[in-house]
Subunit: 149 residues, 2 copies
DNA sequence: TTAGGTGCAAACTTTTTGCCTCCGA
DNA sequence: TCGGAGGCAAAAAGTTTGCACCTAA
């Protein structure tokens, strides 16, 4: 992927530098979506084996500060990083741990309601709703539920 | 607190035993609500200093398996354990990290919608919605938002 | 030449595992 | 006495920190 000029610009404004590592991490997040730092690291190392996991963490922090990536805790273990472009809602089953993805439109009503009543601006693409999925409640499986990551 | 007879019974049915540690951990979760394993451990150790953190983890697992307690990831770090009796929704601000609690009734519409369309039974009392709270978006603070833990 | 950035190693935090001992049915 | 439980220590997983070196402005 080509060097991200807007990233270079943003960094420069803050007295920071564009580096191959930063580009690679941003690319990896964009490409993988929902990846843990470890997976991002592995992906980056396929191209640049010398890159250290420390750099991954530092860069993810940086990119998050610049609002270019965001992390979510989908339940257990390591957080998962995505870009804003990646839009959908996660339904996490607290029995089987499966994650169902549904379109963000499902939450428009709730989003408006929360903003109106609590001044809370919901981020509909980066949250995890917990409950019990169709398989674990014994309901019929739908197409949407098959989309488990 | 008195020994929980129904817990003793449930355990016995599965060939397990009731122990002081298990009672203490359950009591601690009930009393504290939203406590991390570490806090639960500290609480238990005020009464029984010899209880090891390992036992806390094992017992929380056990109680979760029995559906007596549940854990939620409110964002970062350690999970927080609660009993079912503790009913409310968490709005986690991903800017300031603050947690706003709102009544579970706010999600009835969504709950029905998710069940109908995806067979997903939402657990309205134990989930965290992420977004940006009133303070961080510059809106007027409401009474609900003041309830930050 | 001077900060920013990276790699490396070590520390740290949280959770899990293995093993041995204890104790109640 | 037999298996479930708990304590302890060590390991594992995930993340952070300190420090020396390197390099682009």
């Amino acid at each position: 992927m080509v060097v991200d000029l807007s990233l270079r610009h943003t960094l420069h404004k803050r007295g920071m530098r564009m580096t191959p590592q930063r580009q690679l991490v941003l690319d990896a997040v964009r490409e993988l979506q929902h990846a843990t730092p470890e997976r991002i690291c592995a992906h980056v190392q396929r191209v640049a084996p010398a890159v250290n996991i420390t750099t991954i963490y530092r860069t993810l922090d940086l990119l998050e500060g610049l609002d270019l990536v965001r992390h979510t805790h989908l339940g257990h273990g390591a957080p998962s990083y995505s870009t804003h472009a990646h839009e959908h809602i996660h339904l996490v089953c607290h029995r089987c741990g499966g994650v169902t993805e549904i379109p963000p439109g499902e939450l428009t009503v709730l989003t408006e309601q929360l903003q109106e009543r609590f001044g809370f601006v919901l981020d509909p693409s980066h949250l995890a709703l917990s409950g019990r999925c169709g398989r674990c409640t014994g309901h019929t499986e739908t197409a949407a539920e098959a989309n488990v990551s």
